[in-house]
């Protein structure tokens, strides 16, 4: 028995990763700060016993590890960068900083001293204020004691003592790298430059120092805690027993991006991550647009022979939303609610988020307003409502975001809505955009209260959209749940080009809904259709009676968006029928109609409580290439899910079908899909 345990232990020991040096240093510093705060080393609210550099020196005394030293060096390097002219050059110099020898930096020390003397008094406070609200960093007071001046020398002396000369550049380089991935101290670079006006314009207006995420090189995470909603594929239904099928539209696209990110990492996606309807609806389609003055969207029904089964038919239902004139759109009020927990500190998360939002900023109008609220790491409003034209201020706030910490202060979500309420004016569109990697610790503890809260706010007109970032901790299920309750979309941003698609190309649709609570109900004619199966929409099923109940919430259709739903149906008498006719059922039924079925749609015009009805019969007709492409994606999704209805149909068939129906593909989305099919084909072997 003990042998067993020893094996386990050996296994476990080999699996245990080394603690991250930087996090270690941060955590130790955090603990020390809390310790000091608790010891009441500051009796008065604003005492003056210690200065920043005595703090640094204490750290040098207490932290002798490489990590601690790195962090310290980083702080000093930051000081250099901001305060000295040489530092300014470094800051601006992009990639060149790595080659500057340490000797040259040490020479700048007198300049540092001089600059420090000239610097406004609260420089240190700005530099070091961390994002954690309860940290007690106020310890670093705002004055400059005389001993400050020797500090840089102390630090560099220490550096040269500890590290042999060749190693020194590495240490210094680390300090510089810290600038790109904001960690210690840099989080409040904006505070710092607020007190140093001459650095502001360069430091903030220039966003080029952001690390560029490499979209295709995403390291596989170690253990992951991702959660996907578990839903069995819609089963085959027998028309005679259950002729009516009801569901809500789904305009989320997150599933496709998650599938892509998995395949790009060389793994087949988890089956529950594949929601076929989201994959189909990821693509723009060229469906007939509604006529002016008609309903806000236009349904088109077409049929084709099922690619994977010659004896069944696909019924393709397309809704195309109208695209109102963009020039006349109402002003937008956007509140970004941004997760700054420690796990966001990853090139595919916070930096990508920053770049994505900067992309989006260009799409906004001068009359639109933007505010930023953070939660988790730091809680609170970091940007008061600001006109979108004030790009410099918004950019600065975005660049000032730093990941770290997981303590939850005031309820981030409540505050975000409060800010949104404050911005609301009649005729404007309010939306909270939650960006996270899976930490939904937004400040409301009771899950039902959270849902109710979002739903209440939805009813008052403030909607919620959710953007997911990064892999490893992605809580797709909660993302979906929140966005559905908030009448918003859930999208997963894995690359900058995905951000381009969601936040630039399709921004109007994502932010302006033209029809609310769109529900689809199909009644199949048992005289024509023996069996049917809805492909996808598992998480969107509604009860039959919900269709006419305007109280029941459903999906929103955005401006210019299209929604596609596909049924696989088995005509009466087809050899593909899976169920045998019942022996004791009613005898021959007289066909009342040649129609296959009857499609009913309900929607509410924006701001209205009463739904309107659109109906159209379903009859055989020829589907165009747009529907063919949607069918190829439907097949692809089902292959990834390993669904049983596809028989021998393979990825190769999906590729052939998608290629044949690729159309003009102006954005290249469809070519990318074909690439993914190829990848999945190879990975599944």
């Amino acid at each position: 028995m003990t042998d067993d345990l020893d094996d386990l232990k050996a296994l476990m020991d080999s699996a245990t990763p080394r603690p991250d040096a930087q996090r270690r240093a941060e955590n130790l510093m955090l603990a020390q700060e809390n310790f000091d705060a608790l010891q009441g080393s500051r009796p008065a609210p604003r005492p003056t016993p210690r200065t920043i550099f005595s703090g640094v020196r204490t750290m040098l005394d207490t932290l002798t590890t490489k990590g601690g030293l790195t962090a310290t060096t980083a702080l000093v390097a930051v000081g250099l960068l901001f305060v000295t002219p040489q530092g300014q050059d470094l800051w601006q110099g992009g990639g060149t900083q790595k080659t500057i020898p340490v000797a040259e930096r040490t020479q700048t020390t007198p300049a540092v001293e001089e600059a420090l003397q000239n610097a406004p008094g609260n420089f240190s406070e700005g530099l070091l204020r961390a994002d954690r609200e309860d940290v007690g960093l106020d310890d670093f007071n705002s004055g400059f004691a005389p001993e400050v001046m020797e500090a840089p020398v102390v630090a560099f002396d220490r550096l040269s003592q500890t590290a042999p000369a060749p190693a020194a550049p590495t240490q210094a380089e680390k300090g510089v790298i810290t600038l790109g991935s904001p960690m210690v101290g840099l989080n409040h670079a904006d505070d710092l430059s607020a007190t140093l006006p001459q650095t502001r314009s360069r430091a903030q207006a220039d966003a080029t120092f952001l690390p560029t995420p490499a979209p295709d090189i995403i390291a596989a995470p170690e253990a992951n805690t991702e959660a996907f909603p578990e839903a069995a594929p819609n089963p085959l239904k027998i028309t005679q027993e259950e002729p009516v099928s009801t569901f809500s539209i789904d305009v989320d696209t997150a599933a496709y991006s998650v599938v892509r990110s998995s395949l790009m990492r060389g793994q087949l996606p988890p089956k529950d991550a594949v929601r076929v309807e989201e994959m189909i609806n990821y693509f723009p389609y060229d469906y007939p647009a509604p006529d002016a003055g008609a309903a806000p969207f236009r349904p088109t029904v077409s049929t084709m022979t099922t690619p994977w089964n010659p004896d069944t038919q696909l019924v393709h239902i397309a809704l195309q939303g109208q695209l109102p004139a963009v020039e006349t759109r109402p002003p937008l009020n956007l509140v970004f609610l941004i997760d700054t927990s420690g796990s966001m500190n990853d090139p595919t998360k916070l930096p990508l988020l920053r770049q994505s939002f900067l992309l989006m900023l260009d799409q906004l109008r001068p009359e639109d307003e933007v505010a930023i609220v953070t939660y988790a790491g730091s809680a609170g409003q970091v940007l008061a409502p600001t006109p979108a034209s004030d790009r410099a201020t918004i950019t600065r706030a975005l660049n000032g975001l730093g990941a770290g910490g997981s303590t939850n202060g005031v309820g981030g979500l409540e505050q975000a809505y409060l800010v949104a309420d404050g911005m609301a004016t009649d005729g404007e569109v309010n939306r909270v955009i939650l960006a996270t990697d899976g930490d939904f610790n937004v400040g409301i503890n009771d899950p039902d209260a959270l849902k109710d809260f979002i739903a209440d706010k939805r009813d008052t007109g403030t909607y919620l959209s959710v953007l997911g970032f990064g892999r490893g901790n992605l809580d797709d299920a909660t993302m979906q749940a929140l966005a559905q309750n908030g009448n918003g979309t859930a999208a997963y941003i894995d690359t900058l080009s995905e951000a381009q698609k969601v936040l630039v190309d399709q921004l109007t649709g994502a932010l302006f809904s033209i029809a609310g609570d769109v529900k689809i109900q199909v009644e199949w004619n048992p005289a024509q259709i023996a069996e049917y199966r809805l492909i996808g929409y598992e998480t969107r099923a509604l009860n039959r009676e919900d269709f006419n109940n305007d109280k029941v919430d459903a999906g929103e259709l955005g401006a210019g968006h299209s929604v596609t739903a596909i049924y696989e149906v088995t005509p009466v008498g087809s050899p593909a029928q899976l169920s045998d006719p019942l022996r004791y059922a009613n005898e021959e039924r007289t066909p009342v109609s040649d129609e296959w079925g009857f499609l009913k749609l309900r929607y509410k015009a924006p701001g209205e409580d009463v739904s309107q009805l659109i109906t159209t019969p379903i009859a055989p007709s020829d589907a165009g290439s747009e529907a063919q492409f949607a069918a190829a994606i439907a097949g692809f999704g089902q292959l990834l899910r390993d669904d049983t209805y596809l028989g021998d149909w393979s990825y190769a068939d999906a590729i052939a079908l998608a290629n044949a129906a690729r159309g003009t593909d102006p954005f290249g989305y469809r070519s990318e899909a074909v690439q993914l099919m190829r990848l999945a084909d190879s990975l599944s072997r």
């Binding site: 245990t16 990763p17 955590n27 809390n34 170690e222 253990a223 793994q267 910490g405």
Partner: protein
């Protein structure tokens, strides 16, 4: 200089407000603490966040340190409690997804799908009930049964039973995988 001072003396000094003592104490135990957090959570990012929670709360917890307790035992206790808090928080939010399936099952299923990328043991441990996982994490971290019993507030007999139960379940998981 302080390397020869015992953990317990350091902890007492720290509780009295000696910041250097606190600093050396934490520095001494940080790596072990992180490793233990990893055993408790099974994921690196989670372990980093949990360690940070503990570091943030540790100064306040010092007040609860008593002379007769071993520092390692006390730290285990703090860590296990912090892990419970985190799980509870997570579970609360996970419940927000009711209607989209049971969260734990989902996560386990997702884990199962990526099992090739994930260390088998970590994944298997994630499938254990919390009490068994905590117990196993402690024992795999070289805690004695008596120490584990003290940390978790149960008897030594319970610890022994849990260990054999955990081993049984791990074996079952393994067998199931081998069969599948």
């Amino acid at each position: 200089m302080r390397m020869t001072t015992s953990d317990e003396d350091l902890a007492l000094a720290a509780a009295d407000g000696d910041r250097a003592a606190f600093s050396s104490l934490l520095d001494r135990h940080y790596d072990r603490l992180f490793a233990f957090c990893f055993r408790l959570t099974g994921a690196r990012a989670e372990a980093e966040d949990l360690t940070q929670d503990i570091c943030a709360a540790l100064p306040a917890k010092l007040a609860s340190y008593q002379r007769r307790a071993k520092v390692t035992t006390w730290l285990y206790k703090v860590a296990v409690n912090a892990a419970h808090d985190r799980r509870r928080r997570r579970a609360t939010y996970a419940k927000a997804t009711t209607g989209w399936g049971d969260w734990e099952i989902n996560r386990t299923a997702a884990n199962a799908d990526t099992s090739r990328a994930v260390d088998w043991l970590t994944m298997a441990m994630n499938q254990l009930p919390e009490d068994l996982r905590d117990t196993l994490a402690l024992v795999l971290d070289d805690a004695t049964h008596a120490q584990a019993a003290e940390v978790l507030g149960v008897s030594e007999g319970t610890i022994s039973w849990r260990i054999s139960e955990a081993k049984k379940r791990l074996r079952a998981i393994k067998d199931m995988e081998d069969a599948g």
